[in-house]
């Protein structure tokens, strides 16, 4: 419960702070007083004329003269002019400018229309139906283009980080094209996928990397997310569906949440040409702080002295052979460059009353922090067309986009293996050849890894209003994504001692998705209740097909991209899989007086991923909401409460994120034996597995105060996943599989609290300050796991604990007498054993996370500052961090190691030679609580400063808009643990330490004409 308390504490403090700000504001009133001829008196009301607006700002344009409306919506302004432009603005409503001639001839009543840009009026969509945030019964978070555009990121997923409650975004590798993991509301599945379902313009989008067909194509970036091929600047909005009500119509795929991505469409009536371009650079900002050369050499000498072994050319070339004065900073050497970025979009949009269009092209080029000439390039185009027939009965929406990218990288940089080389490790031998006692990262730069992706995305929607309240719609989609891959291992980039030959791999993998979704909607009124009925069907097919060839014995390293120059084809393979999916769905929604809302959804799904007899499943949800602020009784008692809603939902969704054909036992053929094809086992059979299901319960409250100047959303959720689809880990004694697919009666529960606050702290005439804060506190528990003790998971999980539990030995102390690390003998059998003595020593999932945004506007200036934070633990596994003495550099934390009898420290003595007790303890340290530490951080995720040129100035330039901006991403990271010694905790995961998110700066301009 601790994280929940923490988050409540933070919430309370935040509310107190906001109250304080509010009191300050109440005390502050705009200055008045000017000698006058006229008294301008009027009232501001809502668009329907029924509701006076209290606290609206009224300003004479071009002056500082103005007023605020009173309890009845009235205001009075004194002025000496007889012709004024009055600007009326109010939070939640569109501002208006009105030209008035004084004195007034009649009573002045100004009507303000509600601004759909304001939070509770924001339109949200589940992909099947649309509603407003106000009337929604489910939980849908949304960000729009204005938030995405502020962030100079390569992948749109990076722009989500910290922006929405319940959505945890983690960079897996900071290089362009690197993987980004999104997890919505915790990990519900023990081993099946926990990726959300991505839907781009209504069509499910592949989320599994295409470069996984062969390990040869897994480059420095690891698996490459296909979502990289959607340019962030093309995106209009991203919606994340979280609860049962919002996700139920995604049935068997909605358990991990749904991410809906919508691209920009034309809407203006006037044809507008718009250019957005920026330039910038990015670089790696933090490296592990390692020992300088003198300290390193001293450490090594100490280690040999401790072990009473003489350093020799063989066991200690760093002490005996290599230059003791020439040091290299490997981090700077390998990742120290600046990567330059250019990003440009050009679009033309417009249309008439019945037809809109938008045509856009985009280009991005990003250099690399690596020392060689590497780059990421992406370009593409998009066409949108929207048309309505003249009787407005038939609507057609069509879009097509094409994006191509090219990523040139190297195959690998092993953080621990290369960035921690001894500082005096020589790159070259005296004769000029590469030195290879350990890895040679400079030689390994010759190992190329290139990929080219092409993504075609099309979608068409026809809808037809058959009669009053009765309409039908068909959504058709097709997308294709193809990746071509090349990677090389020239002999010159490998250790000659291993007898290398030049080899290269060529791969091609493509995925196609087709979707057809007819649906019928009927709207009617039943008394004062509005009823909406929706029914439809969905059919989807996804095919993935590819091939990979590895060839070797190239005689000329310049010719390695030519398969014809290879001596031997060493392996060749093809891959194919087909996935089909069909469903029927229905929804009934009732809205009584805009106060009482009810929604019920049902879906029956069939998936080809399951064996015969297990293919179909039923899913559904019910939800209700009560907008209690609409109750007159309450309105009178609590006038400050402008909006209040209680809502709850419950339902079942499923998860089928497993590989295809897992119900078949199968063989694949990759090799030959005696020139005949040999079959190798590919999958091991189980035909009896079916859906994994998640029961989602949610209750939430949305409150708006003071005409929504303060908005508070609080949500509690509890997701219970059972019938777990487990890739049941198999010991290798059972065969060459690692895992096999099964359903398992394990239960995982994710509970959490999501809090979102949006405030308008200051709304002056020229200056405004808005804040947004979100926080998610999560608790993940393995509730049930029958037979855990005798299963292959016995040493991985524990009942009642987080699924990400880290088990290991409990480090007790470094023995002050001999300097060797000691561990608790938990079962007190006198031995330290893997099975008997490991306990839970931490967990890797976050306790809580969130973001805090602030937007300041002053005249044409806008400053956005966004902080993202995570409270979590990390485990740093590679030995060098905590176990001094072996060849290879270490964290500067080892300066505090044990050196002589009596030293009290947590870092053990230096050990250089295998077989000594301290050396043996190295393994145990890496698997102990000594390797688990606080990895919480606050990241300066984004700062963006923009300036919109005044209209008059733009007109001179014949522009409708001119907008200049400076943006910074990942500017700093604050950690609270010195033991991390310079590492960015976001990219420290267990034994893998990867390149952290880069700090980027960009300067750009956005023009419209």
């Amino acid at each position: 419960m601790k994280p929940l308390y923490c988050s409540l504490g933070v919430l309370c403090r935040y509310i107190a702070y906001l109250l304080f700000v509010y009191l300050l504001l109440c005390a502050w009133r705009p200055a008045r007083g000017q000698t006058t001829n006229y008294r301008l008196y009027g009232q501001v009301v809502s668009a329907d004329g029924e509701e006076p607006l209290i606290g609206a700002s009224v300003l004479l344009k071009g002056t500082t003269n103005g007023a605020t409306t009173d309890k009845s919506g009235h205001f009075a302004v004194l002025t000496s002019d007889n012709k004024v432009i009055l600007t009326v603005s109010f939070i939640g409503y569109r501002s208006i400018d009105t030209l008035l001639l004084l004195p007034l001839q009649s009573k002045l009543s100004l009507r303000l229309a509600q601004d759909p840009g304001m939070l509770e009026e924001v339109k949200v969509s589940t992909g099947y139906w649309e509603t407003s945030k106000r009337l929604s019964t489910g939980n849908i978070s949304k960000i729009t283009a204005d938030v995405i555009e502020k962030q100079p990121v390569t992948s749109v997923l990076a722009a989500l980080s910290g922006r929405m409650p319940g959505v945890f975004v983690q960079t897996e590798n900071g290089l362009p094209g690197g993987g980004i993991k999104v997890q919505i509301r915790g990990r519900g599945s023990i081993t099946a996928g926990t990726d959300p379902l991505y839907v781009v313009n209504g069509v499910p989008f592949i989320s599994t990397a295409l470069n996984t067909i062969s390990s040869n194509f897994q480059n420095i970036n690891g698996p490459v997310s296909p979502l990289n091929s959607i340019p962030p600047a093309d995106i209009e909005s991203i919606e994340v569906l979280k609860d049962a009500d919002a996700t139920a119509l995604y049935g068997s795929r909605g358990a991990n949440g749904v991410v809906l991505i919508r691209t920009k469409r034309g809407n203006a009536n006037k044809t507008e040409v718009s250019l957005n371009t920026y330039f910038g650079s990015s670089q790696v900002t933090s490296f592990l702080r390692t020992l300088a050369l003198p300290e390193y050499l001293a450490l090594r000498k100490e280690a040999f002295a401790n072990d009473a072994v003489e350093p020799t050319k063989v066991n200690a070339p760093d002490l005996t052979v290599w230059d003791p004065s020439l040091a290299t900073d490997w981090g700077k050497e390998l990742l120290g460059n600046k990567a330059h970025v250019t990003d440009t979009q050009l679009s033309v949009g417009g249309g008439s009353q019945h037809t809109h269009f938008r045509v856009g092209v985009n280009y991005r080029k990003e250099g690399s922090v690596l020392p060689a000439d590497h780059s990421y390039r992406r370009s593409g185009g998009q066409i949108n067309l929207d048309h309505k027939s003249s009787d407005e009965k038939l609507t057609l929406q069509a879009m097509a986009s094409f994006t191509a990218d090219q990523n040139n990288l190297i195959r690998s940089i092993d953080y621990a293996g290369t960035l921690l080389l001894p500082p005096n490790y020589p790159v070259y031998n005296p004769d000029g050849s590469y030195h290879w006692t350990l890895n040679n990262p400079i030689a390994m730069l010759g190992q190329k890894s290139e990929s080219r992706t092409q993504n075609l995305n099309t979608q068409t929607t026809f809808s037809y209003a058959i009669s009053k309240g009765f309409s039908m719609r068909v959504n058709l989609g097709y997308n294709q994504i193809q990746m071509k891959m090349y990677s090389s291992l020239p002999a010159s980039s490998q250790n000659p001692a291993n007898g290398p030959v030049s080899s290269a791999s060529f791969g091609n993998n493509a995925s196609q998705t087709m979707l057809a979704e007819p649906q019928i909607e009927y709207q009617t009124r039943w008394g004062k209740t509005k009823l909406t009925m929706l029914t439809g069907a969905s059919w989807q097919k996804m095919t993935t097909e590819g091939s990979a060839i590895t060839a070797r014995d190239f005689t000329n390293e310049q010719m390695m991209e030519n398969l014809g120059a290879a001596g031997t084809i060493s392996s060749k393979s093809t891959n194919f899989s087909s996935y089909k999916y069909a469903s029927l769905f229905g929804r009934l929604a009732a809205d009584h007086l805009g106060k009482y809302l009810l929604s019920a959804t049902f879906r029956r799904d069939g998936s080809s991923r399951f064996g015969p007899g297990n293919q179909f499943g039923n899913f559904g949800a019910i939800a209700a909401a009560w907008i209690f602020s609409e109750e007159n009784a309450l309105r009178n008692v609590l006038p400050a409460l402008s909006f209040g809603k209680l809502r709850a939902s419950y339902g079942i969704t499923g998860n089928d994120q497993i590989s295809n054909y897992q119900y078949l036992s199968s063989y694949a053929s990759y090799y030959a034996y005696e020139q005949m094809p040999a079959l190798s086992p590919a999958t091991v059979a189980n035909s009896r597995f079916g859906w994994e299901s998640t029961r989602k319960l949610e209750a939430g409250m949305n409150l708006g105060f003071l005409n929504s100047r303060l908005e508070v959303d609080v949500t509690y959720f509890s997701h219970k996943s059972d019938n777990q689809l487990i890739g049941y880990p198999l010991p290798y004694m059972s065969g060459p599989f690692g895992t096999y697919q099964a359903n398992f009666p394990g239960i995982v529960r994710n509970t959490g609290l999501e809090i979102e606050l949006n405030t308008l702290n200051i709304k002056g005439r020229n200056f405004s300050w808005k804040s947004g804060f979100n926080l998610t506190a999560l608790r993940n528990r393995l509730v049930e796991f029958p037979g855990l003790a005798s299963s292959s998971y016995a040493n991985i999980y524990e009942i009642g604990k987080d699924l990400s539990i880290i088990k290991g030995y409990r480090f007790t102390a470094v023995n002050p007498d001999n300097g060797t690390a000691q561990f608790e003998d938990t079962n007190q059998d006198g031995l330290l054993t893997f099975a008997g003595d490991r306990v839970g020593i931490g967990k890797s999932s976050p306790d809580f996370y969130g973001g805090f945004s602030n937007t300041f506007t002053y005249g044409g200036f806008q400053l956005d500052v966004f902080l993202q934070f995570v409270k979590q633990q990390v485990q740093i596994n590679p030995f060098p961090f905590l176990t001094p003495g072996a060849i290879g550099n270490v964290s500067d934390q080892v300066m505090g190691r044990w050196r002589q009898a009596g030293d009290l420290t947590t870092i053990q003595r230096a050990a250089a030679v295998a077989g000594t007790p301290a050396w043996t303890a190295r393994n145990n340290i890496a698997n102990s609580s000594a390797s688990v530490m606080d990895g919480s951080y606050i990241r300066g995720k984004n700062i963006s400063l923009s300036y919109t040129l005044p209209g008059a100035f733009c007109e001179k330039l014949k522009l409708t808009r001119c907008h200049l901006f400076v943006q910074g991403q990942n500017l700093f990271v604050l950690t609270f643990n010195s033991r991390l010694a310079g590492l960015d905790p976001e990219t420290v995961r267990g034994s893998a330490v990867t390149i952290p998110p880069m700090r980027s700066w960009a300067v750009g301009v956005n023009l419209s004409l």
Binding site: A668, S791, F834
Partner: protein, 453 residues
Amino acid sequence: MLLQSIFRQVVICLILGLTSCEQLIQTDPPKTLVSSEILLSDPTLLESALLGCYYSLDFEGGFIPYIGLYADELSSSSSSSSIPEFSTSSLSANTNTGNYAVWKSLYSVIYQTNVIIEKVASSSTNGDPLLTQFVAEAKFLRALCYFYLVNIWGDVPILTTADVGITSRQPRDPVSAVYSQLIQDLLDAQDGLPTVYPTGKKTRASRFAATALLARAYLYTGLWEKAQASASLVIDSGLYTAAGKLPALEKTFDASSIEAIFQIWNAAGYTAVGNMLLPDSPTTVPTYYLSAGLLDAFEKGDLRKLSWVSASVVNGRNYFFPFKYKVKNSGAVSEYSVMLRVSEQYLIRAQARANLNNLTGAIQDLNVVRERGGLTMVSQAAKEPLLDAIAKERRVELFCENAHRFFDLKRSGRIDAVMSPLKATWQSKAALFPIPLEELRLNSALKQNPSYN
């Protein structure tokens, strides 16, 4: 057209209603995979599955250099990957990838052979001569794997089914049970295999391959009579000798080796062991070079030291390396991995005969091997010195091959006595490798070898 087909399917679905959607989600079979259900439908498919077992057996590339370091045959100056732990004979159960790789390879072959053996046993086609031969080959391969498993790790789980629900929870079985199992497999293989090689090459098992391995298994278990009888069957076949003598040293490891009884095929023409052990050029320090002790073990004038050992000269120092396999990555000749050869059979019979007090016969067999080595004949000896002479001969005849040295040290009980003076880090527990920790984690019925954690 695409739209039409989508429309048609959706319309069909809507018409047929909720329960008849099966055909909408019927997928194409995985074009690139072969379902194991159809393995028996075509003998060539089953044969391909069997060939997959042979292919997977190629575990020696990583193992032979490592085991040479672990025992007293090889030295290395490299500090990369698992080498230091093998050099000091102190393997980490947790992180030693070399240890785990061999375990994985051997049990992978066992799974694949179990599929074949089970499939045929459960079918009505039992008795078909071709299928019987495939099963016999599978059993030979399974026995070969168990032979290595039991000698590397001691007690190991005996798995005779492919059902992972059973195999993933199996505890370890005692050494004696493992030997009984593998000997039974070899007896079955002897019955089911023809005396001629199925495809003419020695890269598939024949009855003599099974018999030769059986002789080795009997030798290791001290069943001298049976060891002698089995070895005699192989030797007396005359298939592996040239007029009762061992063929020339040079050709022993060629693809066309006369003396080889069972080899493992490769496409490239060179073996993984050759690739690992041979240096790049005669002027670079080999990653693995022969230990001083092994070099000293060769008697003066031993032709094997000329033919099977070579040296790199770097900075005036000689680094001797094994030169049994002569092809590193390309060459005029092709080489296959030799898993069984007849010279070992002579040494097996010599030891068996000596233990049966047939000293004359033992000396005869020993001399066959010594003769080819260009050494003087042993004329007479008492039993104990003769057994020592045979052990010494095994060391120089079979060095860096099939882990013979390590296994010989263990079965003679001399391993601690030999290793302790050589390595300060040697501990008695090292006679057995640690069970890879990941396997203990995934199968809680497994227990670790003594003194490892």
